[in-house]
Point group: D3
């Protein structure tokens, strides 16, 4: 069920073991070829496809579209929430629905910059309410294998405004892609270093990272389906109940 279009008696009538699905996105620069709302549009499309498949097991909220995008602020148009403000929103959505009796929550994320604050916010909630069942993951985590398979360029991970993300855009909202502006972009640190925190104006020339010129709608379709399959399976697992069992013997 889509929460936005429901009335309160509709929600009142729901069984309380449906899984609340909360998409998180961003409004941030995606190079000269993709719109600022790319992350939000993609994660919303994935979440709506999941809801369309298993509507009775999901309560889908609107997308929290104002993401943690401080590393993109050097590019015009990017909006960024402060971390406390961002986290507060996610906590408030869960707290509100917890008050209405729901106990299972899954956050599907569409923007890498949200991963850490999602973790902090959700762990805060879990500490406050240990009885809640909470999970979160990027939709792109479920599609990593498929993306690595279909991508032709030398970069095999889903990155920002890259071959994979541009392909998803061509599949989901082709009318918003500036195909004449698709470009390869991005810099790589030498020597290789772990866990560096770079801003995108340090790491790219025009804001994207990877081989967007290789993007096709068909690649996007395959990645998209893999993401929808993965999130659907995750929701079904939460809905049916995850059980913790013993380790295999050593």
């Amino acid at each position: 069920m889509k929460l936005a279009h429901a009335t309160w008696p509709d929600v009142e009538a729901l069984p309380r073991d449906v899984v609340v699905l909360i998409p998180t996105g961003s409004l941030e620069q995606h190079g000269p070829h993709l719109p600022l709302f790319t992350d939000s549009l993609l994660v919303t499309a994935v979440a709506e496809a999941v809801e369309a498949r298993i509507p009775g097991q999901v309560l889908l909220t609107p997308t929290l579209w104002l993401g943690a995008s401080g590393h993109h602020l050097a590019f015009a148009g990017t909006l960024s929430a402060s971390f406390p403000g961002y986290q507060s929103n996610l906590e408030d959505v869960v707290e509100s629905l917890r008050r209405h009796g729901f106990t299972k929550f899954f956050v599907v994320n569409g923007h890498g910059g949200n991963t850490e604050p999602n973790g902090v916010a959700l762990r805060t909630l879990k500490e406050r309410h240990p009885e809640l069942v909470i999970g979160h993951a990027g939709y792109f985590e479920f599609a990593a294998d498929t993306a690595a398979r279909v991508m032709e360029g030398p970069l095999k991970h889903i990155r920002h405004a890259c071959e994979a993300e541009a392909s998803l855009a061509l599949h989901v909202f082709p009318e918003l892609v500036r195909t004449d502006k698709l470009r390869d972009d991005g810099l790589i640190p030498e020597p290789s270093a772990k866990g560096m925190i770079f801003t995108f104006d340090e790491m790219t020339e025009q804001g994207s990272l990877g081989y967007a010129t290789l993007a096709t709608a068909e690649k996007g379709r395959q990645i998209f389906e893999a993401a929808v399959d993965g999130v659907t399976a995750q929701i079904e697992a939460l809905a049916s109940g995850i059980v913790l069992k013993g380790l295999p013997p050593s």
Copy 2:
């Protein structure tokens, strides 16, 4: 221009005296007849109509849909932001665009409960950055006269899920209105008292306040047009520049 669909070079190319238009909504119970997203859907429709009329003077952001709705939390499905979290989002949107060089902001609000925190957040910004030009008003304030004229019930002000709001819903998203559930509802304090802070479960039986059974799409159309006219005029005033002039002689 719609910020969501623009690329960063599109925004970079904009003149910096366009007016940033920020809609604020809610996801909260609207009685058994209107969807939870009513406020967000209506204010978005108004803002998009304004943008469609004068696209060159406006930079329209997506709607901040998670509103301050604590007074509706007794009804299932309602989501409410904390006041600090809500205000933080609005401040962050303005701060981000200020960083990109924009100086004129207008917040069009679709939910009464946001009025006060909008004021606090925007005054905070004005104190921090006195050079900004900032305004805010509910879309319904621009339509108050029209609404009073077209409403047939004894209540002549736009209230929650009432004759006027249900009419707007029938005009803007008729497919989401449960016409079989339209109902009159609401209680009135005796003796009359100023400034009382009631929750909606204290003030109503099923969450709406007024004579929704009298709603029609045509009334909604007239109220909607008045709102669009009013917000458009406001944006044009900000875009062209508001000048402060002396009082008339006493």
Copy 3:
């Protein structure tokens, strides 16, 4: 009863259905003719007159005099609380007295800039403690009709350091009014715009807004009495109990 002058056993002995009356003021510039403490002095005088009339129904706290006055900070001497700090104080006063068993609160405000943070703070309290009965209004709201009637200048609303407020000052603390400095002041936006957030140095030359040269103590007396009458009636309504009754039929 005045809380300040009571001992704790006096408060312990009170019935818990008396109405706690909390005045909120400011210390901010009021033009060259009125003292910085004008708002606090006036709202305190109104509140004390109410307490003197119906002492058994009221528990009057001292005035929260440090208001939200950021829009006046360009003028020397103005003090302004941050919004969170201001709101925290109001919340703490209510929380403290709630702990002592009181459940009915009315905030009488003497400074326009406090209206929104008062609303945010009191709604926060109501959400936390739905059983509380809470109201708030400016004393000037109760005197609006009288003020409009007695004011001779072209401006008929009570504004900052204007004909009405200067009249009140001449009635309540004439010794602090610089009658030789009374002056008309203030600018008006063209085109007219709704909800603009101006600072007082943008809107005035010397900090006041209206026709203070027309002020008289007799006008002040009438406005003052109207305010005291209005607040008294409000307190009596809360003390006797406000009942919510059904709407008239459509």
Copy 4:
């Protein structure tokens, strides 16, 4: 100069090396014999006497009367600010006047519970603005020797609602003292322990600590004068400029 009664041009005309004097008080239980506002009334009286002596060297603000009184909340009528809210107010007063160009601040405190948060708030300000000259002390610290001399009971330190404080009350606001309710009260820890944090309901039977039955107005007069002398000397030192000089040789 009293800030409350000044106009903004009065403040504008002040030399910026006057010392801003900020009294901090409380509204908290003071046993069955003293009013809740005792601390605020006493510190205000001291501060006003200082201002009356050296008006040209002082800019006196109104008293921040809502103190940190959580340890008295078990007694009816006590109001307590949260520490962050309390500190925020003090910071805001200094920040506002700093903006107007003042650089010397002295906080005269009338309530022991404010000492630590005053220190934290003022050190925060000093770290943010190292150029400020800031000091703070309880008025009672300046009167400690006199109090020890005039007190007849076995307790020689100024404590809560004790012989000394009740004497001050009899000197400053005799009409508010319930002389028929004066009582000795208070418990002492065994074994003696340093730095214990007790609440007043743990430490007293009725909220006072010491030998209030021995209070007289004459003792109060002497203690009061010592406090005024001490604060005056402090303000004069700040006004004339404190110089740091080398240690004596070892």
Copy 5:
């Protein structure tokens, strides 16, 4: 250089391009066999070994030992910082040293629960001060391959109080390991689910996760050396300067 043992003139004399190394740990339950301080002891040992190897390139701070351990609070003795408090500390360390002129920072983490708040805190700092060079990683990330190679049990990742961590403990502080209490422990979710947020009392019987009975000091030595090698290389990369270079052609 160890910051703790230096004097201020020692630090003043340092070149400002040394890398500040900040270890983050925890004090939390580690099963019946390892001490509560395990994470802090291990990360400190790694960091000190790095400092001993390249003392001229490192400024090593003491370990921030109070970690984010809310998911372990069901076990006695665990201490947990709130996320904002934890993050505040890390920010304050960096801000203090930034004030002294240092610009390169690397956080070596010893506790998985700190990873996300470290990321949030460091990204906050990077947004505020884009000129800083900041990185962070768990020491265990540098030892993952070695650990997978030396571990004999079916679990090949470093987990909580597991074969690898117990081995490290036997290498670094054997006197604190309760070898008689070593035990295998831990539950696995079925169906497998991504990104679930479990507490350790949900996931384990006695607080550890993996095959601790297989731990040996020699395995620990190898894992430890790999971690020290990895962190050392990282520091050297930061010290010499990381350069961003173009992607290879597609």
Copy 6:
């Protein structure tokens, strides 16, 4: 018992009336002769000596070493926590152990700058949990008389990096004292003023205050023993139970 070296079953097995002992220190400049970690090293040594004497009555936590040292930030190497961050840590340690059932807490402080925020944090906890038994004091308060007796220089109070503190350092960690850099330092305000908030770069030439050249290890030993005796007695008082008894008759 030392919490750091215990396992969770060790803590689980403890009687809940042991006294939790929490040392608080700093990392801040101590002149050219003492290391930055002086306060933390000294307070840890005192606390460990206390634990060694009465291990069954104490649960000793690691030292909260990141202190409130803003007044030393002008000297290189000093780290300072913000007050809210510092207080949050102390609150979190107590809250965590309270959750595990402990009710008696004593904070032994090694840095004057922590005294006020310790007070604020602990009073916050006491207000939230009135059933807790909480105390705090500087270790130096217990050694004041001994220090005054053994100090030969004209300054008889324990100050920053002075004769007493340098003596303690020579007793506890002589290998870290730069005996060739011992120096007398410090300025004194004229006229004498109460409660002034100075930074150490205002008050000293090189960061110390007093006659460090007179320091000896033997003086340090005597002061140290007095501190350990005093804290031990305090813990024993809390462990056995402090009783409140009536005042002596007047």
